[in-house]
């Protein structure tokens, strides 16, 4: 390679021959970093990694659903850059996206099935042995304890086609009744809130709304860190919007906002009712919209009369004037959009809180128009696919297990006996865990999730998983906390190693492509399900399920006539060419606009086409701070380079460098002073359930009496209190009482603040 390829390199030297021995301007080390202009609109790329082709596919981390352009050589990915022409991310990606390929090359990838031997070690076995074990053990459990004694826990991180396969195989093929996903931990609340309010689980927005709002209200959402590319869309808003952040912590997003409401934790429901009260009292509501498109407003109006600004101010810590100012901001904005994430969803009254947000949008007519909406920002890359097609809470395609006509319809499309479809609803995640504790459930199949780290009140969770007669974990890595507890580990191909589709937060169906070879014997989850079907003896039932694309065809049929109708999507290629397609996209009358929102006509999905005002009285926190445990522990996202339990993000040296490797806890300077805690000192955190050690980060961005810890560290959930939203069964991770004490107080370190 010649250094003159690089436009910036200095001119070749005209010195004598021996000169390079002394002064060497070019050579192999210089060539290693040379950049070359590339085709495919990529600009300059490392010359070593110049692609001969490209393929674009959606990222496999969060629900933003960015598209990444894979740089291919001989069909295999060598590098990637964000896709410039995709309507979601417009050429940008967060660090996780940039490093998406790196983490697939970790040396703790599961490359062969592993079975626990007589001495309790996980040892490599062939797929034939693994499948025999899988079937024999699960069948034996079912034979002695009934078919429902084996259950599964799925994920929001695999392709929709794979989720549908898992749900159908487990419930229709293997006779399981109970199965849920880790999506229960992130968006179950939004599902229930939307279903009850709109008649279908339908986030109404498109990302373009970020760019077209006059006021953007972010509730329990640290968009800058959790969804950086959505924050980019806000930055592109040309209307200089008011950005209102409702969050107990002064987060990165709160810093960038125009108004920050640092409310008391879990006082959001009161706050939202209080805002509704002011809007109604001031007459800042859209009577016309309420009358034509909603139901139940009168009851709601009565309900919020008692939420006077004074009461709300005392409950939330937000001064009356500020409440008025926010209400006025919403009123004055022509377009207000409301957005929420885990701060709302992970709550013991999250459904009502989400519905309080929906109520604000409905009563001010902020829905169905550009720049408006009551918008749930989802967590995982395919949580939205799971909501429609995982066959857990809903029967495939947003149908109902309890509805005989739905069962017939689905059975007809799948070509199976409708009697094979369970006539009861599945237990939720926490109920499955309880079922294990009671001994009702004795076999568990965990696919692409890590409950031993992520489930609330971790010590109990590990104890529960230990009680199982047979635990199968199917994952990319053999090293996850849960895989370490498994009796059988099935090695799965990961992102970039398989085909399928994902659905993002704005209902956009995006494509996955196989651009890398899975290591060793690892198989795509899809292939593993096929293999299980064959081994179990129900291969015939899935004869049509040959490829992910075949299943996509089935999913299209299942969606026919539903609000999520996608029968108009011809094939994967069409998704690829259009830059993703948002549902609905019915065969007849599909709208080809690249950015589409729901409810422009005010017609919701209830039979009467009206949206519902739903509300309830705010509840007390079950474990408020007390004398023994005087602090309230909040948990959440730490940095944009960490994802969930870090089973993937910890595999990239770059991502590791971008996040503190040790657990840390944020504490207010005044609290640090009263607890004699110095900045950066090791502290011990204790709750009624467990204990951990972390480093103190002393900062006024957390309020007095509160502590914050990122969820990515293995120990965090030792402390959390297992309590749930009664309607959505979503765990409430963000409020439990703890105490904090310094460890090994060195007199030489930082001063006590």
């Amino acid at each position: 390679m010649n250094h003159t390829d690089s436009p910036g390199a200095p001119a070749p030297s005209t010195d004598p021959e021996w000169a390079p021995l002394m002064r060497q301007w070019c050579g192999p080390l210089t060539a290693d970093l040379l950049r070359a202009s590339s085709r495919f609109g990529l600009g300059q790329v490392p010359a070593r990694l110049e692609p001969d082709a490209t393929a674009s596919m959606v990222c496999g981390y969060c629900s933003t659903g960015c598209s990444l352009t894979l740089h291919l050589r001989d069909g295999e990915a060598v590098n990637l850059t964000p896709d410039t022409s995709y309507p979601v991310n417009l050429g940008m990606a967060c660090p996780k996206g940039w490093e998406a390929l790196t983490v697939t090359q970790a040396n703790d990838r599961a490359t062969t099935p592993l079975a626990r031997d007589a001495r309790g070690r996980l040892v490599p076995v062939g797929w034939d042995v693994a499948m025999r074990l899988f079937c024999e053990r699960f069948k034996a459990i079912q034979a002695s304890h009934g078919p429902s004694s084996v259950a599964f826990l799925g994920t929001g991180q695999i392709a929709t086609e794979e989720m549908a396969f898992l749900g159908s195989l487990a419930k229709f093929g293997m006779g399981m009744v109970h199965g849920d996903g880790n999506t229960r931990q992130c968006m179950a609340t939004s599902v229930v809130a939307y279903k009850q309010a709109f008649g279908f689980d339908a986030p109404p927005y498109t990302y373009q709304d970020f760019e077209e709002s006059d006021a953007i209200v972010l509730i329990g959402s640290n968009l800058c860190i959790a969804h950086p590319i959505m924050w980019q869309r806000i930055c592109r808003n040309p209307r200089t919007p008011e950005i209102i952040v409702i969050d107990p912590r002064a987060t990165e997003t709160a810093m960038a906002a125009t108004q920050h409401l640092a409310l008391e934790p879990k006082s959001d429901l009161v706050l939202l009712y209080g805002l509704a009260h002011i809007l109604i009292t001031e007459g800042w509501i859209d009577e016309n919209f309420i009358a034509r498109h909603t139901d139940g407003f009168d009851g709601f109006r009565d309900h919020v009369t008692t939420f006077t600004p004074e009461r709300v101010a005392s409950a939330t810590g937000i001064p009356v004037e500020q409440l008025h100012y926010v209400a006025r901001t919403i009123h004055k904005a022509e377009r207000t959009s409301f957005w929420w994430t885990m701060g709302v969803n992970q709550s013991y009254e999250g459904v009502r809180t989400a519905q309080a947000i929906i109520n604000l949008a409905l009563m001010t007519g902020n829905i169905g128009r550009p720049g408006t909406g009551a918008n749930s920002i989802t967590g995982q890359c395919n949580a939205m696919g799971s909501r429609l097609f995982s066959n857990t809470t809903n029967l495939l395609g947003g149908h109902d297990f309890l509805n005989a006509a739905h069962r017939e319809k689905v059975a007809g499309i799948l070509g199976i006996d409708s009697a094979r479809i369970p006539q009861e609803n599945s237990l939720a995640y926490d109920q499955i865990m309880e079922g294990i504790l009671r001994g009702d459930i004795r076999g568990l199949w965990v696919v692409c999730t890590n409950p031993a780290h992520s489930w609330i009140n971790q010590n109990t969770c590990r104890d529960i998983l230990d009680r199982l007669d047979f635990l199968v974990v199917q994952d990319m890595y053999h090293s996850t906390d849960t895989a370490q507890l498994a009796d059988l580990v099935l090695p799965a191909a990961g992102w970039g190693e398989k085909d399928g589709t994902l659905i993002n937060s704005e209902r956009r169906i995006g494509l996955l492509k196989k651009v890398a070879r899975a290591p060793g014997q690892a198989l795509s989850d899809f292939s593993i399900f096929k293999l299980v079907a064959e081994s179990w003896g129900c291969g015939a039932m899935f004869e049509r399920w040959k490829t992910p694309h075949d299943v996509f065809e089935i999913l299209k049929e299942l969606s026919r006539g539903q609000p999520c109708d996608i029968t108009g999507i011809a094939d994967y290629r069409m998704i690829d060419e259009r830059g993703g397609i948002q549902w609905p996209y019915p065969e007849a009358g599909g709208d080809d606009a690249p950015q589409r929102r729901l409810f422009a006509d005010g017609a919701f999905f209830h039979a009467d086409r009206r949206a519902r005002f739903l509300f309830a009285n705010p509840q007390e926190m079950p474990e408020p701070p007390n004398r023994k445990f005087p602090y309230l522990l909040l948990t959440g996202r730490g940095t944009s380079s960490q994802w969930h339990t870090q089973s993937r993000t910890s595999k990239s040296a770059v991502l590791r460098r971008l996040a503190p490797q040790e657990p840390y806890v944020e504490i207010h300077p005044a609290d640090a002073r009263s607890e004699q805690i110095r900045p950066n000192q090791l502290v011990s955190l204790t709750s009624q359930r467990g204990e951990l050690v972390a480093r103190a980060l002393v900062t006024p961005t957390i309020q007095r009496g509160q502590l914050f810890m990122p969820m990515h560290y293995g120990a965090t959930n030792r402390l959390t209190l297992a309590h749930f939203d009664p309607l959505s069964r979503q765990p409430s991770y963000k409020n439990c009482a703890v105490r904090i004490t310094p460890i090994g107080n060195s007199p030489h370190e930082a001063p006590i603040p």
Binding site: A9, P10, D32, L33, R35, F40, G43, Q44, P46, A53, T54, A55, T69, L70, G75, T84, S85, G91, M92, A93, W98, E99, T102, G126, D128, P228, W231, E252, M255, G415, I416, K514, V515, R517, L523, S527, S535, G537, C538, A540, M541, R573, D576, T639, S640, A653, V654, L655, L658, A659, P660, Y664, N680, V698, T699, P700, T701, R704, S746, E749
Partner: protein, 569 residues
């Protein structure tokens, strides 16, 4: 209707597994899907970033510089990953980093992320320090570029750069650093970090050299960051509102030991031992301590041992290099680099020491007045002192407070004495074993006990000086020196204790044994000669170990002001 039949036996499964695995490894995305922008060589992003880079090249008195909009940076850190990815860096290599600072009040708390890379300084310390001229400041763009093939991997630039910019690659044996993607800029494309920032917080601006100078003279760069006056960094950090005065990096109070370069530890201690041995030996020879017999006896031994130790030390330095076979380039930087000067000085020292040794051996039979050997000895001493002086300057010129001129000079000079004195005595005693004419007691009487006193004085002085750093602990301000003291007290505490143990035992307690009269008495009244030799040998070994540990701590505790980092990373 499909139903569930009997389970398949596992042998029937094998062909299915085979076919699934074959399918798993079959990559067909290229064939199945269209290529976007297949024919386009122009970057598809061009529209998005045209206002992020200057339209024209810098004029006279101007250069390119990074400009970071602190208000826009939301802490996503895409810049770091994009730089890594678009430049094809090694797995662990990053050229940009993002730190975070916290502060403000309860009413207005503040989180501020700071993205930072090479500042393409007006007066780049990496460039001045480099012994092989592997740095180049482009006269047109001002970009400070590292010439990878020129680098010998001495890593001195890492010490010199106050911003911890150059990254060493063990695999390649060289450092590499940000070049502001100069090839991209030349083609009208922004650097990787600039094009990848979702909030357009990083730009390239043309700045005038004068404006950078005046800014560096008056403004703080970033709170708690190194003094911009050292290298005149060109990066501008802008914010609408002034940053809160109490804004501190998340890792401000973190004290993590720095990388200790073991080969440099060995090199520094052994070369200083060698120079010390020469100087002490020369003083003994030149002074009135030795009679002719003794001189004939110990002089060759001194000359040889001093030379050997020095050569081992210099050899260790070669092992420090990532690409030792290009070590000869190290004289290129003589004009600016103390490392080049050190290498030259030690080269001269080694040459003179060899000549001196040769002269001593060749003139063994002659009498006391040996002008050639004497003058070579003196020259060797002078060259040695100059070389140690260069060693001192290498560290003093980094600007790290723990390596300040007086700290480094005191330590290095005292090391010469602390090790030079006992080795001189040990060599004398060892040499006396070959000749029955000179006894241990006689040596001890003639100059051995004086040497022991010298050792005690040097060691006490050195230990006191080293301990003086702990006075910094009483300082209320959290300075880099205080961070060094905390390191030595806490995370390096046991090592510090060990260092003190070897110093006190080898440099104070054991020499006291030799100050007894019995060391100077012959026969039964006195110590057994072997006992004396053993004590002196133990003194030397203990002090040598102590100095190795001291030099390890010299590196490990060399805290300096730094750019903001992340929480206890």
């Amino acid at each position: 209707m499909a139903t569930c039949g009997n389970p398949s036996n596992s042998s029937r499964l094998l062909p299915i597994v085979e076919s699934l695995l074959a399918d798993q490894h079959d990559l067909t995305a290229v064939d199945r899907f269209a290529q976007r922008h297949a024919a386009s060589t122009a970057p598809a992003m061009a529209d998005l970033y045209h206002d992020l880079i200057p339209l024209t090249r810098p004029g006279p008195g101007e250069q390119y510089a990074f400009e970071v909009d602190l208000d826009a940076c939301s802490g996503c850190k895409a810049c770091v990953a994009a730089c890594h990815n678009l430049n094809g860096l090694e797995e662990h290599e990053t050229w940009r980093s993002v730190g975070v600072m916290y502060g403000g009040t309860d009413r207005e708390p503040c989180i501020q992320h700071v993205t930072t890379a090479c500042h393409h300084c007006l007066d780049p310390a990496c460039l001045t320090g480099c012994p092989v001229m592997a740095y180049d400041k482009d006269p047109l763009t001002g970009i400070v570029r590292h010439l990878d093939d020129q680098c010998i991997g001495c890593q001195y630039c890492i010490f010199m750069c106050p911003y911890d910019v150059p990254r060493y690659s063990t695999a390649k044996g060289i450092v590499r650093k940000c070049d502001m993607c100069q090839g991209r800029l030349a083609a009208g494309e922004p650097p990787a970090c600039v094009q990848a920032c979702p909030s357009h917080a990083i730009r390239i601006r043309t700045v005038s050299v004068e404006s950078v100078r005046s800014r560096c003279a008056t403004d703080q760069f970033i709170p708690t960051a190194p003094d911009p006056g050292i290298t005149l960094p060109t990066t501008a950090f802008t914010a609408r509102r002034p940053l809160p005065r109490n804004l501190l990096p998340a890792d401000f109070f973190a004290a993590t030991p720095m990388h200790a370069h073991m080969t440099l530890v060995v090199m520094l201690v052994l070369t200083q031992l060698s120079v010390g041995a020469f100087v002490v030996g020369h003083v003994l020879v030149a002074g009135a301590w030795l009679d002719a017999t003794s001189q004939a006896l110990v002089r060759p031994a001194h000359a040889t041992v001093g030379l050997l130790l020095g050569l081992i030390g210099m050899l260790a330095a070669v092992f420090h290099l990532g690409r030792p076979w290009y070590a000869y380039r190290a004289l290129l930087g003589l004009r600016t680099s103390w490392l080049s000067r050190e290498i030259l000085a030690f080269g001269v020292f080694g040459g003179l020491a060899s000549a001196h040794a040769a002269a001593v051996w060749l003139t063994l039979s002659r009498d006391r007045s040996n002008v050639l050997a004497d003058s070579l000895g003196l020259l060797t001493c002078l060259a040695g002192v100059a070389a140690v002086g260069c060693s001192i300057m290498i560290y003093a010129s980094t600007g790290r407070p723990y390596w300040s001129l007086h700290r480094t000079a005191t330590k290095f000079t005292l090391t010469c004495g602390v090790l030079g004195l006992p080795i001189a005595l040990l060599v004398s005693l060892a040499a006396s074993a070959w000749r029955p004419g000179v006894t241990t007691a006689a040596i001890m009487q003639r100059y051995g006990q004086d040497v022991c006193v010298g050792v005690v004085v040097a060691v006490v002085a050195k230990l006191l000086f080293e301990s003086a750093i702990f006075l910094e602990l009483r300082r209320s301000q959290f300075t880099p020196l205080k961070r060094s003291a905390i390191l030595l007290m806490d995370s390096l505490g046991s090592t510090t204790m060990l260092r003190m143990f070897f110093g006190v035992a080898g440099g104070i307690l054991l020499p006291l044994v030799l100050l007894s009269d019995r060391a100077t008495l012959e026969g039964r009244a006195g110590y057994h000669p072997l006992f004396v030799c053993a004590i002196v040998a133990t003194v030397f070994v203990a002090l040598l170990v102590g100095e190795f540990i001291e030099r390890y701590l010299f590196f490990a505790a060399s805290a300096a002001a730094r750019m903001p980092g992340a929480t206890a990373a």
